[in-house]
């Protein structure tokens, strides 16, 4: 599916932004491998999610979105640009299709964590559950970080209806558009030191990451670890990124 974003293009861009959100390609991914990587590491790469031009075009889309500055010393330094409740149509379609592939993983994690929560097969049903419980704020956003910009370690898991996986993507090229700005995760385990992770993203790559919690197999069975993610200080240039959620915030 070659689709076009349906909102007004941001200033400085001519015409509409086209994104290659091939839903058939999504079906051809190695989902057993992705599930295994998520189980092992808490993240799984989706390399070359977008070709470079389309990734850059998506980054440029930030100019047309609601800007929310990060707070230095608290949440970070830079700007988040929030998508409206209704995502641009092609992104919405891709998210709904991706969700279907992730539900079995999410439900298995729920089982392993002894949670009775089960996720419905359809994203619209899950989002409706959230809305009925007062989760009405869409957290998906683009981020724009300039030199010295960063995003502090965080997790967005407020509310009763939280999907345990989310998607992130890098929309600028390390080494060319920016240096620094690595995507970092930490994994806190009970009574142990935290494990740092660096997700090796390149321009147009996406990754599935644990939103906040995941099960880890231990000697005495599964236990729950707590994950956060951050963007390391941008050393030069401008870094653009995407965070895409399957749940809304209260």
């Amino acid at each position: 599916m070659q689709a076009e974003l349906a909102l007004d293009p941001p200033s400085g861009l001519n015409g509409r932004i086209s994104m290659d959100l091939n839903l058939h390609a999504l079906g051809r991914l190695d989902w057993a491998g992705i599930a295994a990587q998520l189980d092992a590491e808490g993240y799984a790469l989706l390399p070359e999610w977008q070709v470079p031009e389309q990734a850059r075009a998506l980054a440029g889309y930030a100019a047309g979105l609601r800007r929310s500055p990060l707070v230095d010393g608290k949440s970070g330094l830079g700007d988040l640009h929030y998508f409206p409740e209704e995502l641009p149509a092609p992104l919405a379609a891709w998210r709904a299709a991706l969700y279907r592939h992730l539900v079995p993983i999410a439900n298995r994690w729920s089982e392993r964590l002894d949670s009775a929560y089960r996720y419905p097969d359809d994203l619209a049903d899950f989002l409706l559950r959230g809305r009925q419980a007062g989760q009405t704020h869409a957290p998906s956003h683009l981020s724009l970080l300039r030199e010295d910009g960063y995003i502090a370690l965080h997790q967005r898991n407020a509310g009763a209806h939280v999907f345990p996986l989310q998607c992130v993507a890098l929309l600028s090229e390390p080494g060319l558009d920016h240096t620094g700005g690595e995507f970092v995760m930490t994994e806190q385990r009970p009574r142990m030191q935290s494990r740092p992770m660096v997700v090796p993203l390149r321009l147009g790559d996406a990754a599935l990451i644990a939103t906040a919690h995941r099960p880890v197999r231990g000697a005495g069975g599964d236990y729950r670890v707590n994950l956060k993610h951050a963007v390391s200080r941008v050393r030069s240039g401008v870094r653009s990124g995407l965070e895409l959620f399957f749940h809304d915030a209260p």
């Binding site: 370690l153 740092p196 956060k228």
Partner: protein, 240 residues
């Protein structure tokens, strides 16, 4: 104790220490690019498999520290390690003293490493802390602080002995900085021979109502995706 006139010590003295102090003040870390050449890195990394010259070997998985292993040198340290430790300390002691004053910590460090080590040794911290770490594929180091007793020098150094991209992939050096209600994470890009000076535990950081706040630093290494990675760690306080 040869400090001040060996080539390695001269190379340390020749660095822009005002810029290093500024980077330490702003970020809690500072890189000294290419402090060691490739030959020195290979020689030090080549010490790792040897049986002699070490006081202990730690397999990280046994302690829940991560995956991989490291060895603490015994005294006397290899001459290059000893030179680096002395020359770096002499440059870092004034910064450490300023940090302590800024943090309201009533400890000042003597100008020479031997005097500081004498203080450690009198308090029972007699075991040397310089070490070499070895990571293979899949190995990582959890976020931690290298504290070994009452006496703590607030800065330490890590020197990457392997070349990223060629000798290994993954294995980034990661630091976290925790202040009240906020935690940042930073990857410090290093190449073979680069020395990283960084805060051991607490540091005065810009920000807060008074323009300065106390933050807690931790460091670790992300999982190696391939290859082998060696690091020399130069910690200035000894261990009890």
């Amino acid at each position: 104790m040869e400090s001040g006139n060996s080539p390695a010590a001269d190379r340390i003295d020749a660095r822009d220490w005002a810029a290093i102090a500024l980077s330490l003040d702003r970020h809690g870390n500072a890189v000294l690019p290419a402090l060691l050449d490739a030959g020195q890195c290979r020689t030090l990394a080549g010490l790792y498999p040897r049986e002699d010259g070490y006081r202990s070997r730690i397999v990280m998985a046994r302690h829940g520290f991560g995956r991989g292993e490291y060895k603490y040198f015994s005294y006397p340290l290899p001459p290059l390690v000893d030179t680096l430790r002395h020359a770096l300390y002499a440059r870092l002691a004034p910064i450490a003293n300023r940090w302590n004053r800024q943090l309201g910590i009533d400890v000042q460090y003597p100008g020479a490493l031997d005097d500081f080590l004498a203080r450690c040794h009198r308090a029972g911290q007699r075991r040397p802390t310089p070490l070499i770490l070895e990571y293979g594929e899949g190995d990582y180091n959890c976020l931690h602080q290298d504290l070994y007793g009452e006496h703590v020098f607030p800065l330490q150094t890590a020197i990457l002995l392997s070349e990223p991209g060629r000798d290994f992939t993954g294995g980034e050096f990661v630091m976290t900085e925790t202040a009240s209600g906020s935690q940042a994470a930073e990857v410090v890009p290093l190449r073979q021979g680069d020395a990283l000076v960084f805060a051991v535990n607490q540091r005065p950081a810009p920000g807060g109502r008074t323009g300065m706040r106390r933050t807690a630093m931790r460091h670790g290494v992300s999982r190696l995706l391939s290859g082998r990675r060696h690091t020399l760690g130069v910690i200035f306080h000894d261990a009890s």
